[in-house]
């Protein structure tokens, strides 16, 4: 495999994927719903970092026009991620409201305990 020779040029993507998978692990391994939502937001933030990495250009600057500057970072991913951050907090807010509602109804936010309730009654 040519993994080793690619490390110098792709390390950023790989480390971001490690972060992403940490969030994914929280989502699928923990029954606690707050922890799952935090895992989801970790995953989300890592995807943002991946997109911003795509936009980055070596020796460039931020896409704010200035005299004597030729190379700028790609503005399009920045715009997409600005929108995604705001939409992300909206979905997180709805998820957290659902968690509060579930806690009111069942007295717990552990997924396995709620499933056990269904099984025993």
């Amino acid at each position: 495999m040519d993994f080793v020779s690619n490390f110098a040029t792709h390390y950023n993507y790989w480390l971001v994927i490690v972060l992403m998978m940490t969030g994914f692990y929280l989502v699928i391994s923990r029954p606690n719903m707050v922890k799952q939502l935090i895992g989801l937001s970790l995953f989300q933030a890592s995807v943002f970092i991946l997109y911003i990495s795509f936009a980055y250009v070596a020796d460039g600057t931020a896409p704010i026009l200035a005299e004597g500057q030729e190379i700028y970072a790609n503005p399009l991913p920045h715009v997409l991620i600005l929108t995604a951050i705001v939409v992300g907090i909206a979905t997180t807010a709805v998820g957290l409201a659902l968690v509060v509602r579930i806690h009111r109804a069942f007295g717990t936010i552990e997924e396995n305990e709620i499933q056990d309730m269904g099984r025993h009654s």
């Binding site: 040519d2 040029t9 792709h10 790989w14 994927i17 972060l19 998978m21 940490t22 969030g23 692990y25 923990r30 606690n32 707050v34 922890k35 939502l37 935090i38 937001s41 970790l42 943002f48 970092i49 911003i52 795509f54 936009a55 980055y56 250009v57 070596a58 460039g60 600057t61 931020a62 896409p63 704010i64 026009l65 200035a66 700028y72 970072a73 790609n74 503005p75 399009l76 991913p77 920045h78 715009v79 600005l82 951050i85 705001v86 907090i89 909206a90 997180t92 709805v94 957290l96 659902l98 968690v99 509060v100 509602r101 806690h103 009111r104 109804a105 069942f106 007295g107 936010i109 552990e110």
Partner: protein, 180 residues
């Protein structure tokens, strides 16, 4: 220089993420997730995306942390211990390897002549100032070229607000009715 900063930030992010996985006190976990967002915002500054960094700092560090703390205060402060099961770890490792394999066909980090830079973004950079009068191209695209996207974003926020109100303002019923 940028490479070193990039490494350091990604290392801190990974350390924070591992802390989030291992800790069980939810308030500490929420605080760490705020720190994670702040580190991500710093990384955005390093990667030449100051607009995104400001938004992430305001939304990810501020609003998200407040909402999560509110949820923890309304529900429970401690995660119950879980038995370690190998299946999620296997799934995650396999997915990660597949994704890393996928990145091998991506252009190198920081390259200038990538396909993503050849279509509309050079147009925005070349003509954005003349057409909109805004030197910050991200703002020009967000508010002018893609103004309808931003309108849609506001609609999503409103829908989420309505959803949260509908979920939380309803009549309380059922067991386990504790606290406000």
């Amino acid at each position: 220089m940028i490479d070193v900063l990039d490494y350091v930030m990604l290392f801190f992010l990974a350390a924070t993420a591992i802390g989030i996985v291992r800790l069980r006190g939810l308030i500490a976990v929420v605080m760490l997730s705020g720190i994670y967002s702040l580190l991500a915002a710093s990384l955005f500054v390093i990667l030449d995306a100051p607009d995104v960094a400001l938004t992430e700092a305001a939304v990810g560090v501020g609003a998200a942390t407040v909402l999560m703390l509110g949820t923890v205060a309304l529900t429970t402060r401690e995660e119950k211990p879980v038995r370690f099961r190998p299946l999620p770890l296997v799934v995650v490792v396999v997915t990660g390897i597949v994704l890393i394999y996928g990145t091998l066909s991506l252009p190198p980090f920081g390259a200038a002549d990538v396909p993503a830079r050849l279509h509309v973004s050079p147009l925005y950079l070349a003509e954005g100032y003349e057409q909109t009068g805004v030197p910050n191209i991200v703002t020009a695209v967000l508010a002018s070229y893609r103004g309808f996207d931003t309108l849609g974003e506001v609609v999503v926020i409103m829908a989420a607000g309505v959803g949260v109100i509908a979920l939380l303002a309803g009549r309380r019923s059922g067991q386990g009715e504790k606290g406000e």
